[in-house]
């Protein structure tokens, strides 16, 4: 494009000291892949397209839902049910038709991640689950691609730049922070724990700023530094990162090893010795003098149980109350037996095999009649 036309659109950033035509040209030549067009991806995409990043790929296999709209500000009510990557590409194209936008309405997995990421200069992670985050990290390490990491939870967010050498030739990746993925259910996601809509807006925009800094070379990008931002206190806490042996140990050694990784399985629950029981065992075990029966449903869930003695420790406070369970035999139940199984796994992790832990399989929905509960 002619420099004069460039100036019409991008003049406000081109006149910046230290930016100029040179930085704008670098943006125009850059190829950036945004993975996840959700709470983080939407604001990041809007600013990066507006800033004139030449080629932007958008990976997302989800469709727009009403519950997305409080934070995923590219979408509107009319878009509900449509593919996010396609809708995003269409809307961003109207914002800046000079940017080449390539939508990928596919689920990124080990089988396609390397082929797609290879075509880009850098990657912005706006995904919402650990399986994707570890896979993207490992792919970027293998391919030597800078990774702009961002993640949110409730009122806090994290931002960092991985896989780029600092001045001393040192670089870190996500596994240096957290070598192994948490188990499924260990960390509540936005759907379970909630998120203030503006927070991913702030974090996604910070990621976009890091992308622009990396591409143009202006400023000091967040290399080997993790920033945690708290929207309630408006405080930032920055940590210097170093490589760890544990982090390196978790990385696939080569592309063949990457292809055989099972990222979603790594996040699944480990083998557990928790025993799921039916109503007969429930009765027998509950007669043990050392036994306690615990209802992990939240306050207000029906039906109320009056037929047998039990404690109530709702799931929302279960983690912090585990220490208060003194009995050596613990029987947990809930409505369907799903929450109680997870609660039982938590108990087992804390106490190991020193306690017997049981979960009522099927919960009171299945066994209510036998337990004398009128539904």
């Amino acid at each position: 494009m002619q420099e004069k036309n460039l100036y019409k659109r991008y003049g406000r950033q081109m006149i910046l000291k230290g930016f100029g035509d040179a930085a704008q040209q670098k943006l125009l030549r850059a190829r950036l892949l945004v993975i996840g067009a959700g709470g983080l991806g939407c604001p990041a995409l809007q600013y990066l397209v507006a800033a004139g990043v030449g080629t932007i790929g958008i990976v997302d296999d989800d469709a727009v839902t009403l519950s997305n709209l409080h934070r995923q500000i590219l979408y509107s009510v009319d878009d509900i049910g449509l593919a996010k990557a396609e809708v995003a590409a269409l809307k961003l194209g109207r914002l800046n038709p000079e940017v080449t936008i390539i939508p990928y309405s596919i689920r990124l997995g080990p089988h396609n991640a390397l082929d797609i990421i290879r075509q880009y200069d850098l990657v912005l992670d706006g995904t919402d689950n650990f399986a994707s985050r570890y896979m993207i990290n490992d792919a970027c390490v293998l391919l030597g691609k800078p990774l702009i990491y961002g993640a949110v939870s409730q009122y806090e967010g994290q931002v960092a730049v991985f896989n780029v050498n600092d001045k001393s030739g040192h670089k870190v990746d996500y596994r240096d922070l957290f070598p192994e993925p948490p188990r499924e259910g260990e960390v509540a996601n936005c759907e379970q724990a909630g998120v203030l809509g503006v927070l991913p807006g702030i974090i996604g925009t910070m990621q976009a700023a890091e992308a622009i800094k990396l591409i143009t070379g202006i400023g000091t990008p967040l290399l080997n530094r993790l920033v945690t931002y708290n929207v309630l206190t408006n405080e930032m806490y920055e940590i210097s990162l170093t490589t760890t042996a544990a982090g390196n140990g978790g990385l696939p050694k080569d592309e063949a090893a990457f292809l055989s990784m099972n990222y979603s399985e790594a996040c699944d629950a480990e083998e557990t010795s928790v025993i799921e029981i039916g109503v007969e065992q429930f009765r027998a075990i509950s007669r043990k003098p050392s036994a306690v029966i615990i209802d992990v449903r939240e306050k207000g869930e029906l039906p109320l149980l009056t037929g047998f003695e039990h404690r109530q420790i709702p799931m929302s406070v279960f983690r912090k109350s585990i220490g208060s369970i003194k009995n050596d035999t613990i029987i947990l139940f809930c409505q369907h037996g799903i929450r109680s199984l997870y609660a039982a796994e938590l108990v087992e992790e804390v106490f190991g095999t020193s306690k017997e832990v049981y979960s009522l399989k099927g919960g009171i929905i299945k066994w209510g009649d036998e337990l004398g509960i009128h539904m």
């Binding site: 940590i239 170093t242 804390v350």
Partner: protein, 77 residues
């Protein structure tokens, strides 16, 4: 010796505070053990330990005035 501990993310649900103070913990292993004793649920979750705003590679000696941060991974986007 007083050690200040900053707690982030969903770990605050377990310890019910974003700051803690522990006395008489000489190193990070001792600190984690004491935290696990006080808050057994902490033992079941993953988090990163930083001392004086730096990640640690292994057990790390704590000194008067050291600040320890406990940072869990976030998945949301």
């Amino acid at each position: 010796m007083q050690i200040r501990i900053l707690v982030f993310g969903q770990l605050t649900d377990i310890v019910e505070s974003s700051t803690l103070t522990l006395a008489d913990v000489k190193d990070t292993d001792m600190l984690v053990a004491e935290l696990n004793r006080r808050y057994p649920a902490l033992a079941a979750v993953k988090y990163m330990v930083a001392v004086n705003k730096k990640t640690i590679a292994g057990n790390t000696i704590l000194n008067e005035g050291s600040t320890v941060a406990l940072l869990p991974p976030f998945s949301g986007g």
